[in-house]
């Protein structure tokens, strides 16, 4: 039963209006009532009391279409705590409006020069809107540049949030139309991402991405061979809880350039978690979703697959702070494990396996996933650690990796050269002897501590147990004819570095070199 209120209700007409309403409701004790206040300009306390009395007989009562003044009154007096009250929403049309972004929960359109509206997919979206508003506020407080919604509107049957977003272009637009700016885009994009990932979120404010990923992994147990399924679950399970923020859908349509400021939009996927989850969704955005059909990314982002791949690669390189291809590939593979898990599950859950294309995609991704699972022991990555095949051909990669880490702490050139010599000696040693004639992996880790500034380079391999320090130093006083090269490298290393230590533990050779800068 809907009762319409119009004009004003105050002590002059409250009694009359009350009688009128009672007449309309007579014989319907306890029936649900909607008070349509869209015509109501003002209500005084006399009017409030009328509403209270009606509610006594009709506890299932709600008030809709309330204007801001009436809302103020209802809110101030605590009415809104007792009775569901819905504000009247401005109606906005998106006909002919340009779609500028799309997130998990809704689509963003530009409605005029200054404003955009995010239209939510779910018609019952008021709770989502409120949530996103709070999340955006939280992000802003924590220092992430973003836009805050200033109004809630109705768009057809759905709700939307309106944001002020003047003069803004998404990074997707820039990449599509100004390819020469790609490197600048990478730099800004990675800088913002770094800011997001270094933001600590107070407990309980945002969902934990790990929980979501575990749910995906559990789903996949029914769709992968047992061993692979268990491994996937274990890999994700071993990712430690992380309080740092991740965006959850960090693609270039969600990063806007407004005047000179870089803004993050579409906050409904904000969560906390280890950055590998973020990299997984980024991989999907640039590569995963369009692996099967390269046209997909063109439709969605506006630029082609190749541009997207290049951008992704450069982003990953800048984010990890390395040009070492081995390192980049290593982290990308970890991201792909989580990325494919999500893609496969999504395809199945949406019923897309009813089509040939859906089935092929799942097949393709599953194969990739199985291969990746086979060769991965952990989804964690460290910017300070490199694992690669111990082969002299990889020496340059190792040196590049170490040099990059040293450059971060402004290592003086002489010390850098010396450390490089030691690194070469040890690595070539491992490459030549640890696994011969077979092949094997070596891990190089670079750590820097302050006070005093000390660089520690650690080599780990699981080849034949070998203590290079046990070798006798060569006699460096011998003349040329009598000199041998053997043992010189280790000797040099011992002289150059301030401390060299070896241990054999858990089947691994661990050699630690230290130099004070």
């Amino acid at each position: 039963m809907t009762i319409k209120l119009n004009g004003r209700i105050d002590s002059n007409n409250a009694a009359e209006i009350e009688n009128d309403i009672l007449a309309q409701l007579s014989g319907q004790e306890g029936a649900p009532v909607e008070i349509d206040a869209s015509g109501l300009e003002y209500i005084s306390s006399a009017g409030l009391r009328v509403l209270l009395r009606i509610r006594k007989n009709h506890p299932d009562m709600r008030i809709t279409g309330v204007n801001s003044e009436v809302w103020e009154i209802l809110d101030m007096t605590g009415f809104t705590e007792m009775i569901p009250v819905e504000k009247a929403y401005r109606v906005v049309s998106i006909e002919g409006a340009e779609e500028i972004g799309r997130g998990a929960n809704g689509t963003i359109y530009r409605i005029d020069r200054d404003n955009v509206v995010k239209v939510y997919n779910n018609a019952d979206a008021l709770a989502d809107i409120q949530h996103e508003r709070e999340v955006a506020k939280l992000a802003l407080i924590l220092g992430i540049p973003t836009a805050i919604s200033y109004d809630v509107v109705k768009v057809g049957e759905s709700y939307g949030s309106v944001f002020e977003l003047l003069n803004a272009r998404s990074f997707s637009k820039i990449l599509a139309n100004e390819p020469e700016r790609m490197d600048w885009c990478v730099k800004e994009y990675v800088e913002l991402l770094g800011k997001i990932h270094s933001t600590v979120v107070p407990e309980g404010k945002l969902p934990d991405m790990k929980d979501t990923a575990l749910a995906w992994a559990r789903f996949m147990q029914d769709h992968l061979p047992a061993e692979a399924g268990n491994k996937l679950l274990a890999l994700i399970g071993s990712i430690p809880h992380d309080d740092h923020m991740i965006h959850g859908d960090y693609h270039t349509k969600n990063v806007e350039l407004q005047n000179d400021e870089v803004l993050l939009i579409d906050m409904d996927t904000l969560a906390v978690g280890h950055p590998i989850f973020e990299l997984a969704s980024m991989f999907n955005a640039f590569i995963g979703f369009s692996e099967y059909d390269h046209e997909n990314i063109k439709r969605f982002q506006g630029f082609d697959f190749e541009t997207g791949s290049t951008f992704w690669h450069k982003t990953l390189s800048a984010y990890l702070g390395t040009r070492c291809e081995t390192k980049i590939r290593e982290v990308e593979d970890k991201a792909r494990i989580i990325g494919y898990t999500r893609l496969i599950r999504r395809t199945i859950v949406r019923g897309e396996t009813e089509t040939e294309e859906g089935r092929e995609k799942v097949k393709m991704w599953t194969e990739e996933l199985l291969g990746l699972l086979d060769k991965t022991d952990t989804l964690l990555f460290s910017r300070n650690e490199l694992e690669l095949e111990a082969a002299t051909g990889n020496l340059d990669e190792v040196q590049l990796f170490v040099d990059e880490r040293l450059a971060e702490v402004d290592c003086p050139p002489k010390a850098q050269m010396q450390i490089g010599v030691a690194v070469e000696e040890i690595f070539v040693n491992i490459a030549s002897y640890a696994y011969a004639p077979d092949k094997g992996k070596a891990t190089v880790r670079v750590e820097v501590t302050e006070d005093p500034v000390t660089v520690t380079v650690t080599f780990v391999d699981h080849g034949v147990p070998y203590d290079p320090l046990a070798k006798e130093d060569p006699d460096v006083t011998l003349p040329a004819e009598k000199r041998e090269i053997g043992g010189l490298g280790i000797f040099m290393t011992k002289q150059i570095m301030d401390d060299v230590a070896y241990e054999y533990r858990d089947g691994q050779n661990i050699l630690t070199l230290k130099k004070n800068l």
Partner: protein
């Protein structure tokens, strides 16, 4: 990365090195030097552009030194401070003729 600039004239060979002399690049130098050594009685290795040397590089120097013995002279010139340290630590400063 190693660039080798070779000039040979009347039995005098000058190898101007630029870059790094390490496990990866040392074989290149070895090939170049050993390939030319037959006609040379004065071998100069100009290290002005060299930033780096490891034991692999030292190996090539030692081999060249031994080869030049009895054939002529070998000199290493324009050695920078860091590389000089390496020569000293390993005793190569005594073995090589450094200018």
């Amino acid at each position: 990365m190693l660039n080798i600039n070779k000039t040979v004239e009347n039995g005098k060979a000058v190898f101007a090195l630029e870059g790094r002399l390490d496990t990866v690049t040392a074989p290149d130098l070895e090939n170049e030097v050993m390939g030319s050594i037959e006609d040379v009685n004065e071998l100069t290795l100009d290290f002005a552009g060299l930033d780096y040397i490891s034991s692999a590089g030292l190996r090539v120097l030692l081999a060249a030194q031994k080869k030049m013995k009895g054939r002529g002279s070998m000199t290493v010139t324009n050695v920078n401070g860091s590389i000089m340290d390496i020569f000293e630590v390993t005793g190569f400063s005594e073995i090589l003729t450094i200018e």
